[in-house]
């Protein structure tokens, strides 16, 4: 066959194929969406009972107001969230609006690389607040905390990347009917001493009803939350004594450096007191609690096998929806200054959460519809949007002027306790890992505070150093990215917005650079 004939056949086949494809598309296929030209995807890991309903309620109303836009909620389990985030962002296929938090190890570089700062937008009123008391307030001022958590965690000082949806706190949930059966009253414990007295009644009650009823629903996660809380209380004074910078707080990098410089260690009595208190509380959990996760603790509490459960308000909706009894959310009855175990190390009450808003949503750089995504964020965080979210989710709102249902009023932070730093268990990923791996030396059958703390101080120096190096690396990654953007904006400075970005990045970079140099020096001067 000649080349010419072959070409002709090829062309005819191509033309037929093309015509078939056109005919198919034109006559037989269906549209991929519902006729709305814009589809937004909204991804988060809050798959507990509550938030998905809250967001669905907001979406429903938003779609009524905006017939062009469809919003899809993507629920991504926490166990795979980081992998999902990394792979989707690398491929430019992630959702338009994405939840992110600074404690997610290994993805600290994400905001600066993949999210769009909303700093400028936050300076203008939220258009969906028209007709409300927040009508003229700048968007950032409508948040309960002015988005201070987002400012603290921003990789570029001065820029804000995330917009929050809720406020969380730690609470002590109680089975009211069981409390009445055990104590003969519905009076809840106000102090740790009162809690001890209730715990003392449990063995007798268990014998009476012929089944074991524990004081506290136990699981690995809940125990770690409780340890963090108790430790924060006993180490408050120690933290303030290390506050050379006068922040009345310590950043992780300072706690890590403090350990390397020998300013504190795990054998310190303040730290040991927190561990001792945890051992005491853990005796009222069922054996083997460190082998199970929070779902098991929830099941134990819902089954009426434990009187209390210590959890975040993020679990509250699940507990209330599923419990066949009345669940009361209490503030944890904290030890007082006269407590025989830890009193001498306390300086007062500890802050038990609230004040800082969370569940931060971020606008992806890869979004095909950034204007619509921002518009949805505006609606979601408006008074109307937040009211819908709060009512349907049972979670606190992040925005002022939203009516809080009576049943979650007790979740609100009261700002009546000291706050100084992250608990020592949470200052770095290696530190956290070693804590989790060795906590059996504290809570196991032959465990003790001395055994645990001696082992920690044997293995921690290397982990602490490694965590500080990670902080430094992360800081340097941010610095390098800032450089490119700062210089680029300087070259676009004829545009006013670019000029502002340039100056903000320049100042932010100098700040970050100072912290990086400080970390590098701390690492160098403690190298043995």
């Amino acid at each position: 066959m000649s080349d010419r004939a072959r070409n002709r056949i090829g062309f005819v086949l191509f033309a037929v194929g093309y015509l078939c494809a056109v005919t198919w598309v034109f006559t037989r296929s269906a549209p991929l969406d519902s006729g709305r030209p814009v589809t937004l995807r909204f991804a988060h890991w809050q798959i507990e009972a509550g938030p998905p309903d809250g967001i669905a309620a907001v979406i429903k109303r938003y779609e009524e107001l905006n017939p062009r836009v469809r919003v899809e909620q993507q629920l991504v389990p926490g166990a795979v969230y980081k992998q999902w985030l990394r792979s989707n962002l690398a491929g430019g296929t992630g959702a338009d609006l994405i939840e992110w938090g600074p404690w997610l190890e290994g993805v600290r570089d994400v905001p600066a690389r993949h999210f769009v700062p909303v700093t400028e937008e936050l300076k203008r009123p939220n258009p969906y607040n028209r007709g409300t008391p927040l009508e003229h307030a700048r968007w950032e001022q409508t948040f309960i905390d002015g988005l201070s958590g987002q400012r603290i965690d921003s990789p570029d000082p001065g820029q804000v990347y995330g917009v929050t949806l809720t406020e969380v706190s730690l609470r002590f949930f109680c089975n009211r009917e069981l409390l009445r059966d055990i104590t003969g009253t519905e009076a809840v414990p106000q102090t740790f001493a009162e809690l001890r007295r209730i715990f003392e009644l449990l063995p007798d009650y268990s014998r009476r009803v012929g089944r074991p009823v524990m004081g506290l629903a136990g699981a690995r996660d809940n125990t770690h939350w409780l340890l963090d809380f108790l430790l924060a209380g006993t180490t408050m004074g120690l933290n303030f004594s290390m506050d050379d910078y006068g922040y009345l707080a310590l950043y992780n990098r300072q706690l890590l450096a403090g350990y390397l410089h020998g300013r504190w260690n795990f054998r310190q009595p303040e730290v040991g007191a927190g561990f001792e208190l945890l051992r005491e509380v853990a005796r009222h959990m069922k054996p083997g609690f460190m082998q199970v996760t929070r779902d098991e603790a929830t099941r134990e509490f819902l089954g009426g096998d434990a009187l209390f459960i210590f959890a975040g308000t993020w679990d509250a909706t699940s507990l209330r929806r599923l419990a066949p009894f009345t669940v009361v959310a209490l503030r944890f009855p904290q030890p007082t200054l006269d407590d025989p175990v830890v009193g001498r190390y306390l300086i007062g009450r500890s802050n038990d959460g609230g004040g800082i808003t969370a569940m931060a949503m971020h606008l992806s750089r890869h979004s095909r519809h950034p204007a619509e995504a921002l518009d949805f964020l505006h609606f979601l965080t408006s008074v109307e949007g937040m009211q819908l979210f709060t009512n349907a989710s049972g979670w606190l709102p992040s925005v002022r002027e939203v009516k809080i249902p009576a049943e979650i009023e007790s979740f609100k932070g009261r700002q009546d306790g000291f706050a100084s730093a992250n608990p020592y268990t949470l200052i770095g990923s290696n530190v956290s890992m070693l804590f989790a791996r060795n906590i059996h030396l504290l809570l196991g059958e032959r465990g003790s505070v001395a055994r645990f703390t001696e082992e920690l101080d044997r293995i921690m120096p290397e982990a602490v150093r490694s965590d500080l190096q990670t902080e430094l690396r992360s800081s340097l990654t941010t610095l390098k990215g800032q450089e490119m953007r700062m210089v680029a904006h300087a070259n676009l400075a004829a545009d006013e917005r670019s000029r502002r970005e340039w100056l903000m990045l320049e100042a932010g970079q100098t700040l970050s650079e100072g912290f990086a140099l400080e970390m590098a020096r701390n690492l160098a001067t403690t190298q043995h």
Binding site: D145, S148, G246, S420, L476, M484, V487, L517
Partner: protein, 278 residues
């Protein structure tokens, strides 16, 4: 819905003829010419690969070469070879006499300070000093002075003592004319003084000066107000401590630190009463 013939309402105008024109439109569509500003915008948006693609289609100029070298130095995965290639371009551009030359000089110093896998703060400091001497009033030279001061405060071996480090940085501060950069360096000198264990009295003037210039970015502004209040209390400057603690409560009313601040104010008043009674 299988087997049901559906119309195609999303095809514009439902015009069958249009479908045959689509391939032609696709190959003959006119694309607006990119500009150097587009390359800078791509870099401002953290898209160095896009910037390289844009600059490849632009006529050669010193600005285009600068943007291209900057993109090259940020293209993932970053290698020392790529950085060396970028440095060669910066070096060549820095030999000129225009604004691009100063910018390239600055970026060359930055490569040595933070980008190469083995940073060389001494070399970076030399380049900053050269740039500052070259055209002291330019923005890039002024910024170089701030970066040089940071190295003096933390990284360079000479001068060694804390006080000497601060004095050297203060000399550089005296050469700054841009208020925003003065603010940044005041703040850094204050923080470095605290890192080196100097007394609050030594660093407070710098922190207060940074606050007076204003517009400290992000959470650092909140921290700064707190620091001035607390360090003033420690230094016995009660009036200044009260002023800043009260400002903190007013401006950052929802921060969990407010509880501690209220405690500090009570302590402050007790101290003031004791001093008044003396």
């Amino acid at each position: 819905m299988a087997g049901v013939f559906l119309p195609a309402p999303w095809i514009p105008g439902k015009c069958p003829g249009l479908i045959f024109l689509l391939p032609l439109l696709a190959v003959s569509g006119r694309v607006d010419a990119a500009t150097t500003a587009d390359a800078w915008r791509a870099l401002a948006d953290s898209r160095p690969q896009e910037a390289l693609r844009i600059t490849a289609g632009l006529p050669d100029s010193r600005e285009v070469r600068l943007a291209r070298a900057l993109a090259l130095s940020h293209l993932q995965p970053v290698t020392d070879d790529a950085l060396a290639e970028a440095e060669a371009v910066f070096t060549e551009l820095a030999a000129g006499q225009d604004e691009t030359a100063l910018e390239a000089h600055y970026l060359r110093a930055r490569l040595h300070q933070i980008h190469y896998s083995r940073p060389d703060p001494v070399r970076a400091a030399e380049l900053y000093a050269e740039l500052a001497a070259r055209q002291p009033a330019s923005r890039w030279a002024q910024l170089a002075l701030v970066k040089l001061a940071l190295l003096q405060l933390y990284a360079l071996e000479n001068p060694a003592g804390p006080e000497a480090r601060l004095v050297r940085a203060e000399e550089l501060l005296g050469r700054l004319t841009e208020p925003a950069l003065q603010r940044d360096l005041h703040l850094q000198i204050g923080l470095a003084g605290l890192h080196h264990g100097l007394k609050p009295e030594r660093v407070l003037p710098h922190l207060v000066a940074a606050d007076r210039i204003g517009d400290v970015p992000g959470i650092a502004q909140e921290d700064l107000v707190m620091q001035i209040a607390e360090l003033s209390l420690r230094a016995g400057r009660l009036a200044q401590a009260r002023e800043y603690f009260e400002r903190y409560l007013r401006d950052y009313a929802v921060n969990p630190r407010c509880f501690t601040v209220r405690h500090r104010l009570v302590e402050l008043e007790q101290l003031a009463a004791r001093e008044g009674a003396r």
